[in-house]
């Protein structure tokens, strides 16, 4: 029996690095310090997994060898006019780097889950930058913590305790030394933790942020209510923002997925910029998948852009709305795809998922996903962070090392190894 400490959690953007895993006979027997989602993964990941590579034949998926599967995927990608590689936010930076290389090799689009989570955050960032900090700084110093359009207790269950209002920092040790505000359109499991919960009308975030900026900069606003809140409440919140020492806004998909999208982010960052006249203030996006930040970093190192990069011209071209995977599927332009560690059929709008199903596509994933059930080729992979090591970036862009705590089953390889095989096959096919 081995007790492995400081295991890095491969679930959400918190990337908690204090998990303790007990392993016996190459099985995880016990897991400590994990949240409920993380414990569910560590203790159940082995129960539903893809046993072997599959190929679709006469409507069914039948087993084939790994060599055949790699060759079929290579052929699909090489024969396409405008192929796409999509996903990799649930994989290592090393695999992500090879994914970008593969997209360059085939002259296709490389995109990732950012497009349907914090894509608008990246667009807002292009316009106004991002005054940000690390989660460590929040933990040690923040006395005002605002969660805007996010629900950490359900999406990032240890965020409050490890990095925020319930954490024991160097300079802020007690809960009483911090104030927590939640702004959301509905009550959630998180709202009961807040000192102040501002429940606003759906799609009115931009209006509230604009009103706060007016109040902060000019003291008065001639309205009785904003975003469904009485103006007195908005003024009270503005005073709270103005009078803290170190404030932080954590924001989620409540801002990026609703009316305004990247304009909401522009307004949020502008508000934070204004607040730095009175206090130290920062802003951090609540990233969902554990290494979606890493995928943005790696794609940016290699192409200059964080997501939605079109390499079909022979140089990187970036224009979300045009080059994003969702949009090239929407317009029916993409004619083949390789999905890695992602499940777009489950999460894209139905009509876009349908367009993916009309083209040849392959899936690399450790377990059956909704996308894998419809794929032409499926290649099972090892679970990164459990059966394969690598690097991952936390939501505040701090890199951490994912551990390998178990051996994968025989014949099951990491994403990094499988993408290498496909690259090698394509290069040998081209001579």
């Amino acid at each position: 029996m081995a007790v492995i400490e400081d295991v890095v959690c491969p679930i959400c953007g918190c990337v908690c690095d204090d998990i303790i895993v007990t392993v016996e006979d190459n099985k995880i027997k016990k897991v400590k310090n994990s949240c409920s989602i993380s414990a569910t993964k560590f203790l159940n990941f082995h129960k539903h997994r893809l046993p072997s590579p599959l190929i679709k034949k006469d409507g069914d998926q039948i087993p084939i060898s790994l060599e055949e599967a790699v060759e079929k995927v290579a052929k699909i990608l090489v024969n396409a006019e405008y192929p796409a590689i999509y996903g990799l936010a649930l994989s290592s930076c090393e695999a992500q780097g090879l994914g970008v290389e593969l997209a360059e090799e085939i002259g296709g689009v490389i995109d990732n889950q950012t497009v349907t989570c914090h894509g608008p955050t990246a667009l807002g960032l292009h316009d106004v930058g991002m005054p940000t900090c690390t989660l460590g700084e929040v933990r040690h110093r923040a006395d005002l913590i605002v969660y805007w359009g996010c629900n950490p207790e359900e999406a990032h269950p240890r965020h409050l305790k490890r990095y925020s209002v319930l954490s024991k920092g160097r300079f802020r040790k007690e809960r009483e030394e911090r104030k927590m505000v939640i702004i959301d359109v509905r009550k959630t499991k998180s709202t009961k933790q807040a000192d102040l919960f501002l429940q606003i009308e759906p799609g009115q975030d931009f209006e509230l942020m604009s009103a706060l900026r007016v109040i902060l900069n000019f003291d008065e606003i001639e309205e009785e209510s904003v975003a469904g809140l009485p103006i007195e409440k908005v003024e009270e919140f503005a005073e709270l923002l103005r009078n803290c020492e170190f404030g932080i806004i954590f924001f989620g998909l409540g801002l990026t997925m609703s009316r305004g999208k990247e304009r909401n982010i522009d307004a949020a960052v502008s508000l934070v910029r204004d607040l730095n006249k009175w206090a130290k203030f920062s802003i951090i996006p609540m990233r969902g998948h554990y290494n979606v930040t890493g995928m943005n970093e790696v794609t940016a190192w290699q192409t200059g852009y964080a997501y939605a990069v079109d390499l079909s011209h022979g140089y990187p071209w970036y224009n979300p709305g045009e080059t994003s995977f969702v949009d090239i599927l929407r317009r029916g332009e993409c004619d083949a795809a390789l999905i890695i560690a992602s499940d777009p059929v489950a999460h894209f709008p139905k009509e876009i998922a349908r367009n993916l199903c009309k083209i040849p596509f392959a899936v690399i994933d450790p377990h059956p996903s909704i996308s894998s059930l419809l794929a032409d080729i499926v290649i099972p992979s090892a679970f990164t962070g459990i059966e394969a090591e690598g690097s991952a970036y936390r939501m505040d862009a701090v890199p951490l090392r994912l551990k390998k705590v178990l051996e994968p089953p025989p014949g099951i390889y990491s994403d990094e190894e499988i993408i290498s095989m496909i690259l090698e096959k394509i290069r040998s096919m081209r001579g």
């Binding site: 993964k41 629900n151 269950p157 359109v185 509905r186 997925m257 999208k261 997501y307 969702v326 876009i352």
Partner: protein, 131 residues
Amino acid sequence: MRGFKATLLTGRSLKQGMGKEVSKTSDRYKESVSICEVHPNDMENAGLKEGDLIRVTTKFGSIVVKCVPSDHIPKPGIIFIPYGPYASSLIGISTDSTGMPTFKGASAEVEAAPEEKVLDIKQLLTNLVEE
């Protein structure tokens, strides 16, 4: 049976997060994502009970899910479905030139669907490919 109009919000839930880590093909996942949280007043006005089947329709699609009362819904006229293939059936394809579909804020109609059933994941996929 009286239906009602609502604004559809989609998002994460703890059960959905845990269900997907068991398996997207598991009953646990299906049960976590094939529900719709409804304000108790809307349920009362529409004559709905917890667990009743309802059909949610937007201009982009229509799906049958299980009705769940929730005090997290701030007021009548708002409904919530967790991320997943059921919610995705109701979302529009426009991205406003950002790459991001509008997953929150679609106008929806809700009506009781006592004679219908919640499709399982495989049936949903069959419909996706064959419709």
